[in-house]
């Protein structure tokens, strides 16, 4: 590696050769070993700027942002097994059928003539008896 290339890399990637392109690190290391004073000056110079750049702290993540981002993720998908699906489908269909049957019966009952109850029969008998009593009275008069 030439001196010029070493300086270009330091100017571009900074004073830590661990952050230089992988393919050029070995050659840079050899140059550092061969000319330590040159390398020290170049890397130290670049390292000063690195240190200054590192003093610019990143924006901190607030708990509110973290929670909002996590909440924006899709809700978990339900994993139904085939048996569970059939069971749920069966129960659902059964309930639907029961509801439908109940509805039909309810409608039929509301439209059908009211069957006489025991109380109604007794009342009618009493009523007829009263009427008959009246006829008897008229005949006797």
């Amino acid at each position: 590696m030439t001196h010029e290339r070493f300086e270009i890399l330091a100017q571009a990637y900074g004073g830590d050769i661990a952050r230089w392109p992988t393919a050029e690190r070995d050659a840079a290391t050899l140059l550092m070993a061969a000319e330590p004073e040159f390398a020290r000056i170049v890397l130290s110079d670049a390292g000063e700027l690195d240190a200054a750049l590192d003093l610019w702290a990143p924006v901190a993540v607030s708990p509110a942002l973290r929670d909002a981002v996590a909440a924006s993720a899709p809700t978990p998908r339900r994993r139904w097994s085939l048996n569970a699906w059939f069971m749920r489908a069966g129960v659902g269909a059964g309930l639907a059928a029961a509801c439908a049957a109940g509805l039909v019966v309810g409608v039929m009952l509301s439209d059908a003539p009211q069957a006489p109850t025991m109380d109604d029969t007794v009342s009618a008998a009493i009523s007829n008896y009263d009427d008959l009593s009246g006829l008897v009275t008229l005949e006797g008069a």
Binding site: I8, L9, Q11, A12, Y13, G14, R19, P21, T22, D45, A46, E48, L49, D50, A52, L53, L55, W56, A57, P58, V59, A60, V61, S62, L65, R66, A68, V69, A70, S72, A73, P74, T75, P76, R77
Partner: protein, 180 residues
């Protein structure tokens, strides 16, 4: 090259809440740092980070290894969102550019009195967008030169040129802090 996020992404795609939290913990600080340094506006940076994740959630179920790493893809999405915002800013201020703050040390104040981070931030914001992007990707996000060049759509040589010019400009802007 295996993707270190692959297993986590698979679980996210299956709707695993723990994987969602883990992915947020792993990637949100990086994305927020990227957007914060590209935009120098914490609120806008948060918006970009959130929008990037919205797209990540859509992508996770269909993510297939073998192409770009997920982290690189996330950077691409976030950078595009940052550039959308930078473009909008330029459209707003084209006719009325803001005054540039004086970044040099005041004669009656020592360097110690300054917030060095703010000085660096101000100097970075004065760089051309592409030079700032190159430094953010390589120095702050610690991407490899190949990844950064790929994201920026330039050759490695062009990336090195952007980095070199950007760092020289920063050195000049921060000359009172950085020797040489």
């Amino acid at each position: 090259m295996s993707d270190p996020d692959e297993e986590l992404l698979t679980r996210v795609g299956e709707g695993d809440p723990a994987a969602v939290r883990a992915l947020v913990a792993r990637k949100l600080p990086r994305l927020l740092a990227l957007a914060g340094r590209m935009l120098s506006d914490p609120a806008e940076a948060e918006d970009v980070a959130q929008e990037t994740f919205v797209r990540a959630w859509k992508q996770a179920p269909s993510w297939r290894p073998g192409g770009a790493r997920f982290d690189t893809w996330l950077h691409r999405v976030a950078l595009n969102l940052c550039y959308d915002r930078l473009r909008r800013r330029r459209e707003v201020v084209t006719d009325n550019p803001p005054e540039q703050a004086d970044e040099g040390p005041a004669p009656d104040r020592g360097l110690e009195a300054r917030d060095v981070g703010d000085r660096v931030s101000a100097a970075m914001q004065r760089l051309p967008d592409r030079q700032r992007e190159a430094i953010v990707l390589c120095h702050y996000q610690e991407l490899s030169n190949i990844e950064a060049a790929g994201l920026m759509g330039v050759s490695v040589e062009a990336l090195e040129s952007l980095l070199g010019r950007g760092r020289r400009a920063l050195r000049a802007a921060l000359a009172d802090m950085v020797g040489g």
